[in-house]
Amino acid sequence: MEGPKIYGYIYGFPITQTLVNTWIVMVMILVVCAILTKNMQKRPGKAQVIAETIVTVMDGLVGQTMGKDKMRFAPWMLALIMFLAFSNTSGIYGLRSPTADLNCTVGLALMTFFMTQYNGLKSKGLGGYLKGFLEPMPFLLPINIIGEFANPVSLSFRLFGNLLGGGIIMALLYSALAGLMFFPIVIPVPFHFYFDIFSGLLQSFIFTMLSMVFISGAMD
């Protein structure tokens, strides 16, 4: 598997495959949202029931994980899990997954990191926030600071490594099966099911869950 291709430059800013595939994923999410929320009624139709189920499940998950007082994070978490779910499973229809690029995952992890720090600072106050670094013992201050910066690193590398590893294994499989006439149609199916659907959806769920845990952990 190769790195993301660079299609061209706009004012010296490279337009990579990751960027283009992110736009495709964004368009897909917009289309799905438009279809599901079209013509909303008091008595919901089929599409509206699906949309309401997704929102209700995500609200329940956020309420259970972060607490009922932090429900204002639910829309962000739903947006995050939708983007990750769509981009992680984009290997099925032949796109290079945008999350198999470290730039994308580091961006997402930095959003979680800054949200963690900002909300922790806001809800605990400056004194409580700084005091949190001295717990349980004052001499553990360097360890706590390193641990705080290790969170975005491990978040981004986990997503990136899983997606890129899956992509590399799929590419090796296809190159190994290239000489066969019939089997390339049948053999990759279970691998696609595992690496694209199961692993992709699991990783998007885990990224969102860990974001919720970090943010709510910093706030209380």
Binding site: G3, S154, F157, R158, F160, G161, N162, L164, G165, I168, L202, Q203, F205, I206, M209, L210, V213
Partner: protein, 100 residues
């Protein structure tokens, strides 16, 4: 009579007859394979988590969804070190910093 120093000399002499880039490539491949030994730890950890999860579901089948969610989260955290090993292996194979 071959002492330690002689073995090192012999090894350096042996490697010296190849192109420098080829030696770096060969040792990078060995290093990538060695880095993936890190996969042992997450394997043990995730297996342990899955075993305990199955145990907990056996004891309390009614809270199965909570148990599975917690287990997946723990398994994902346990996977981190293995992913670090994978990243090191990938860097050595595809973005080797020693090749200049």
């Amino acid at each position: 009579m071959i002492g330690d120093a002689n073995i090192v000399d012999f090894l350096l002499q042996f490697l010296g007859q190849f192109d420098g880039i080829d030696v770096i490539k060969a040792f990078s491949a060995i290093g990538a394979g060695t880095a993936m030994i890190a996969g042992v730890g997450p394997g043990i950890g995730q297996g342990f988590a899955a075993g305990k999860g199955a145990e907990a579901v056996g004891i309390r089948p009614d809270s199965q969804s909570d148990i599975i969610r917690t287990m997946l989260l723990g398994a994902a955290v346990a996977e981190t070190t293995g992913i670090y090993g994978l990243i090191v292996a990938l860097i050595l194979l595809f973005a080797n910093p020693f090749m200049g």
